[in-house]
C-alpha cells in the first residue's frame, strides 16, 4: 500500500466541518491526517491539488451498471471506469438486473463482478419481492448476509399494498433499509412524459405527479405502521418534497434523494421527440424544479444521486414513447452539482455533503468523510476546469445524455478508493 | 418592328392563309396562359370563331419541376370537351426554347387525339432547344443574351424589349 500525500488542496469535509487548505495524508489504505502532516511522513506518491478541492469520494445511491444480463448496454468494467472518473467511490446497484437480485447467488455474482473490475465498493440493493413482481417476499436476510445493503423495488410499482406492508415489516425485522421509488402503477398509466403542457402539445402518453405523490403517501403511512426505515429515491415533484418534509418533521425515519438532472431540466427544456430527454420519473415543471432545489438546500432531500442508466444506441433510437428511459449520468454528476452552487441554489458544502456524508449516513456506512482512520475514499476536483461532453472525454458505454456536446465546468482530476488511485486525469 | 398592331395584323394574315392551306375545318383555338391567351383573344375575334376560346395552363406539364418546383397559383385549364379529331390552332405570345409548346402539346394530347395542331405565335425569337417550330409568326427576331421580350396586357396589349438576366424558358 502506497503512502500518499495530497497537498495544497482546499479540503472540504462537511462531516467534520472542515474547509481549509492543507495536506491529506494516506497510508495503508486509510486516512492518516487531514489538514496537517505527521512528522516523518514520507510519501511515495505526491498529488498536487493546488487550486483544487479535496473532498470525500462520492457515494451514489442509484446506479445501474447493466450487468448481469444487459451487457450490450454497458458492463461493470466500463461503468466503474466511468464512476471512477466521476469521483464516485461507492455505488448502490438497483436489483433490476437480469437475473434480478433476489437470491444470494446473484448478490455474490455481483461481488465477483465488482472484484474483477477492480472496484470493490459496489453494494447491491436486494429486490423487495421475488423477481420484483410484487407478489412474494424475497429472502431478505440471506440477501443481506450476501452483501446487500438495502432492499428496494427498483422502478417497479407495487400494486398490492398488503404485500408492500408485509415486505416492509419483514425488512424492518431484519433492520433493512427500504429504498423505495414511489409510483402508482394505475395512475402512472405507462406515461413517458409529465402530464402537462409539453405532453399535451406533442400527444405523448403522460403520467401525473399524483402518481408519485400518492404512492409516496401510501408508503409513508406504511412506514409509520411498520417502523421500517425508508429512503425515497429520485423524487421529482413539489408535492413530494412537501410530504417528505412533513413526515420528517413528524418524526418518521425517512429520507430522500433527487436525481441530478431533475435539478436542472424541466419539460420546457425538452427538444420535441428527443429521446435523450426521455427519463422516468419524467422532467416536470419549473415550479417542481425550484421546489426540488429548495428541498435540497433545506435538507428535506438530503442526497443527490446520478440515477445512472447507460443505454445502447438502439434503445434510444425510435419514436419517443418507444425509446427506453434513462440518462447516462455519472460523469455529469460533479459539474451539474457545481452548477447548482454557481446558481446559489445550494452551497458547495451542501453539494458535497449531499454526495458523501448524507448518503453514508443513510446507508449506515462508515464512510463519506475524511476522518483519520477511515478508508481513504477521496475525490479531488478542479471546479474551474471546462470540458466538453464528447466521445473523447466520455468513459461510460452509454452516451445517452441530454448534455452531450455541451461544455461543462468542473472535472474530477483524481479519485482514490481505499487508498488506491483509481482515476487520474492526464491533462495535456 | 415591335408595333403591336403590325404584329397582330401579320399574325392574322398568316393564320388566315394557314387555315386555307392546311384545310382547317371548324378549328378550335387554344391560347397558352397568360400572354398566349391575350393574343389568342385578338385572333379569336379577328378570325370570327364562334366556339369559345380554350385556355391552357401548362404549369403541371412543365419539364422543370425538379428545378423550380410547383407554382402556387395555377388556374385550371378550360378546354371544351372534344379534342378528339379536331383541328387545333394553338397560340402563344413568344416562341423561344420550345419547351412551353412541348408541354402544351402534351396536355392537349392528354385530352384526346386531335386531327392536327398548328402553332401560331406573335413573336418567334432565336434560342430554340426543342425541334418544334411555329407554323406562322407575327415576326421573327434575334436577341442578345441579356434581352427579354415582355408582353403586357390584356388592355392595352403592348410589347417591350427589356435588358435583364437571361430569359427563363
Amino acid at each position: 500500500m502506497n503512502k500518499i500525500r495530497i497537498q495544497h488542496g482546499r479540503i472540504i469535509d462537511p462531516a467534520n466541518e472542515i474547509d481549509r487548505i492543507g495536506p491529506v495524508c494516506i497510508a495503508g489504505g486509510r486516512i492518516i491526517s487531514v489538514g496537517n502532516e505527521p512528522d516523518s511522513f514520507t510519501a511515495d506518491i505526491v498529488i498536487d491539488a493546488g487550486k483544487q478541492i479535496v473532498c470525500p469520494g462520492f457515494i451514489d445511491l442509484s446506479t445501474r451498471l447493466r450487468e448481469p444480463g444487459q451487457t450490450r448496454k454497458a458492463t461493470f468494467k466500463s461503468e466503474t471506469l466511468s464512476a471512477a472518473s466521476a469521483g464516485v467511490t461507492t455505488m448502490c446497484l438497483h436489483p433490476d438486473t437480469n437475473p434480478v437480485i433476489d437470491t444470494a447467488a446473484v448478490a455474490e455474482l455481483i461481488k465477483e463482478l465488482a472484484d474483477k473490475a477492480d472496484y470493490p465498493q459496489i453494494y447491491p440493493i436486494a429486490a423487495l419481492t421475488q423477481k420484483l413482481e410484487g407478489n412474494e417476499l424475497s429472502a431478505m436476510l440471506s440477501l443481506k448476509q450476501a452483501g446487500c445493503i438495502a432492499v428496494g423495488n427498483a422502478n417497479r410499482p407495487i400494486k398490492n399494498l398488503l404485500i408492500l406492508r408485509r415486505a416492509m415489516e419483514y425488512a424492518a425485522s431484519h433492520d433493512l433499509l427500504l429504498m423505495f421509488r414511489p409510483n402508482d402503477y394505475w395512475l402512472g398509466n405507462n406515461g413517458c412524459a409529465h402530464e402537462g403542457a409539453f405532453a399535451t402539445r406533442y400527444g405523448l402518453p403522460s403520467t401525473p405527479d399524483a402518481a408519485e405523490t400518492i404512492a409516496l403517501d401510501q408508503c409513508l403511512e406504511l412506514a409509520e405502521l411498520t417502523r421500517c426505515r425508508v429512503h425515497f429515491g429520485q423524487i421529482s415533484c413539489k408535492r413530494s418534497v412537501i410530504k417528505i418534509h412533513q413526515a420528517i418533521k413528524y418524526g418518521l425515519d425517512v429520507s430522500a434523494d433527487v436525481a441530478i438532472h431533475q435539478l436542472h431540466l424541466t419539460e420546457n427544456d425538452m427538444t420535441p421527440f428527443d429521446s435523450a430527454y426521455h427519463v422516468l420519473p419524467p422532467l416536470r415543471t419549473e415550479s417542481d424544479k425550484q421546489y426540488l432545489r429548495q428541498g435540497l438546500a433545506g435538507g428535506t432531500l438530503s442526497c443527490i444521486c446520478s440515477d445512472h442508466q447507460p443505454h445502447d444506441i438502439d434503445a434510444k433510437l425510435g419514436a419517443f414513447p418507444e425509446t427506453e428511459p434513462g440518462v447516462s449520468s455519472l460523469e455529469t454528476l460533479l459539474p451539474l452539482m457545481l452548477r447548482l452552487v454557481t446558481k446559489h441554489a445550494i452551497t458547495l458544502e451542501q453539494g458535497i455533503a449531499a454526495l458523501s456524508q448524507n448518503p453514508a449516513r443513510i446507508l449506515r456506512l462508515n464512510s463519506g468523510a475524511l476522518t483519520p482512520g477511515l478508508s481513504a475514499d477521496i475525490c479531488i476536483f478542479d471546479a474551474e476546469l471546462e470540458w466538453q461532453v464528447n466521445a473523447d472525454n466520455w468513459k461510460s458505454l452509454g452516451s445517452n445524455t441530454p448534455f452531450w456536446g455541451q461544455t461543462l465546468k468542473g472535472r474530477v482530476t483524481h479519485t482514490l478508493q481505499a487508498g488506491r488511485i483509481i482515476h487520474s486525469l492526464n491533462t495535456i | 418592328m415591335l408595333e403591336i398592331d403590325t404584329l397582330l395584323n401579320n399574325l392574322e394574315t398568316g393564320l388566315k392563309q394557314l387555315v386555307i392551306n392546311r384545310k382547317l375545318l371548324n378549328p378550335l383555338m387554344i391560347g397558352i396562359r397568360t400572354g398566349g391567351v391575350w393574343v389568342a383573344e385578338h385572333m379569336h375575334q379577328r378570325l370570327a370563331i364562334n366556339e369559345p376560346l380554350g385556355l391552357l395552363d401548362i404549369s403541371f406539364y412543365r419539364d422543370d419541376f425538379s428545378q423550380i418546383g410547383v407554382h402556387p397559383h395555377v388556374k385550371p385549364s378550360s378546354v371544351p370537351a372534344h379534342i378528339e379529331g379536331r383541328d387545333i390552332i394553338l397560340i402563344d405570345d413568344v416562341f423561344h426554347t420550345g419547351r412551353t409548346v412541348r408541354a402544351a402539346l402534351n396536355e392537349i394530347f392528354d385530352y384526346g387525339r386531335p386531327n392536327q395542331v398548328i402553332l401560331a405565335v406573335l413573336i418567334e425569337r432565336d434560342g430554340k432547344q426543342i425541334p418544334i417550330a411555329p407554323d406562322c409568326a407575327g415576326t421573327r427576331m434575334v436577341l442578345t443574351a441579356d434581352q427579354r421580350i415582355k408582353l403586357t396586357g390584356p388592355t392595352p396589349l403592348a410589347i417591350h424589349l427589356e435588358n435583364s438576366a437571361p430569359d427563363k424558358p
Binding site: 400527444g203 401525473p208 427538444t271 419514436a319 419517443f320 418507444e322 | 418546383g69 385549364s77 392528354d110 385530352y111
Partner: protein, 321 residues
C-alpha cells in the same frame, strides 16, 4: 425544433410532419396550391405528369383504408408510382425495427414516405433518419399530429368562409386522444382565427389544454354560442370501456350535435367532421346530412390538398434556380 426538420435550407417544405412551426405564409401557399388541384378534379384530365417517375410509399403501421386510399389517389393523379404497405405493429416488434423498415425501402430508391403510425413522434423520427433526398409526409402519428387532415379542413373553411380572422371555431369531442384536433388548433391559430374553442368533458381533455391556444367549455349549449365553424371529432368505441365515459347515449345527450343544438350556433355555421362519422353518437344524421354540413366537401378536398402537399414537399433542394 420541429420546423427545422420540416423545412429545407431555403425555408421550403421538405417534410410535412406537423403544423407547428410553419408560418401563415406557408400554410396559405399550401391552400393556394391546393386550389389549382381542386380545379383539376372537375376536368376530364384527372392526372398531371408532375411527379412522374417518382415513387411514393404509403407506410401504414396503423390501419386506415380511407386515408390510405386518399393518399394513393393523390399520388396517382400526380402520375407518381405508388406502393402501399400495411405493416402490423406486431411484426415490427417481433423483428424489424422502424429504422430497418425504412432502410430497406430506401434501398429500392423511393422518393417519399407517407407514414401513419400509432406512436407519437414516429413521423418525426423517420424524417430525421431517412436518406436526405426522401420526403416524409405524416398521415397521422399517435396522438401528436395529422397535418394533412388539418389542411384540408382549413381549405374547406376557407372555401366557404373566406376570412379566418373573423371566425370562431368550436372543436367538439375527444380532444385528449385526437391528433386531428391538435393539428387543427395549430392551423387555426397560425391562420389567425378569432377564437378556437374546445368543448368536451374533463376526461377527454388533455392537461393544460389552454396552453395550446384555446378556450375551454364543458357544456355544449354554452359553448356553441357565436360559433361559425363546428368541427365534430369521432368518438372511438374504446373510450367507453376505459373509464373515460359512461355510455354512448350519455355522451350523445351531453355532446351530441343535434338539429336543436346546431341552432345555438350562428345561423350560417358550417358543420365539419374528419370522418368516419358515428351517427347517433357525436352527431345525428339530420345534421350530418343537412344543409349546413360540409363533410362530403372535406372528403373531396382531401385529394387536392394532399396533391398540393406532396408536390410541394417533393420540390428540389435548392439548386438550379
Amino acid at each position: 425544433m420541429i420546423d427545422n426538420v420540416q423545412l429545407n435550407a431555403e425555408g421550403k417544405l421538405k417534410h410535412f410532419i406537423t403544423i407547428e412551426g410553419l408560418s401563415n405564409a406557408l400554410l396559405t401557399e399550401i391552400l393556394d396550391t391546393a386550389e389549382s388541384f381542386v380545379g383539376m378534379t372537375d376536368q376530364q384530365i384527372k392526372k398531371v405528369p408532375l411527379l412522374r417517375g417518382k415513387t411514393i410509399v404509403n407506410l401504414f403501421f396503423e390501419n386506415s383504408t380511407r386515408t390510405r386510399t386518399t393518399f394513393e389517389l393523390a399520388a396517382k393523379r400526380l402520375s407518381a408510382d405508388v406502393l402501399s404497405m400495411s405493416i402490423s405493429t406486431s411484426s415490427t416488434s417481433k423483428g424489424e425495427s422502424l429504422l430497418d423498415t425504412i432502410r430497406n425501402l430506401e434501398a429500392m430508391f423511393v422518393d417519399m414516405f407517407v407514414v401513419r403510425h400509432g406512436i407519437s413522434g414516429a413521423a418525426h423520427f423517420i424524417a430525421q433518419h431517412t436518406a436526405p433526398h426522401i420526403s416524409v409526409i405524416n398521415a397521422g402519428d399517435g396522438q401528436h399530429a395529422h397535418p394533412t387532415q388539418a389542411m384540408l379542413d382549413m381549405f374547406t373553411i376557407r372555401q366557404i368562409k373566406k376570412d379566418f380572422t373573423q371566425l370562431r371555431v368550436a372543436i367538439i369531442g375527444d380532444i385528449l386522444h385526437s391528433r386531428v384536433a391538435r393539428s387543427q388548433i395549430q392551423a387555426l391559430n397560425i391562420l389567425g382565427a378569432a377564437e378556437v374553442r374546445v368543448i368536451a368533458p374533463l376526461t377527454l381533455l388533455p392537461a393544460h389544454v389552454e396552453t395550446l391556444g384555446v378556450s375551454v367549455s364543458h357544456n355544449l349549449t354554452e359553448g356553441l354560442k357565436d360559433i361559425d365553424v363546428i368541427i365534430m371529432l369521432r368518438l372511438q368505441k374504446e373510450r367507453m370501456t376505459s373509464a373515460l365515459l359512461p355510455s354512448e347515449s350519455e355522451y350523445f345527450k351531453c355532446f351530441g350535435l343535434t338539429e336543436s343544438k346546431l341552432k345555438i350556433a350562428k345561423p350560417d355555421a358550417i358543420v365539419m367532421h374528419p370522418g368516419p362519422i358515428n351517427r347517433g353518437v357525436e352527431i345525428e344524421s339530420k345534421v350530418a346530412d343537412g344543409p349546413q354540413s360540409v363533410i362530403l366537401k372535406q372528403v373531396s378536398n382531401g385529394i387536392a390538398v394532399r396533391m398540393a402537399i406532396m408536390s410541394m414537399a417533393m420540390q428540389p433542394l435548392g439548386g438550379l434556380q
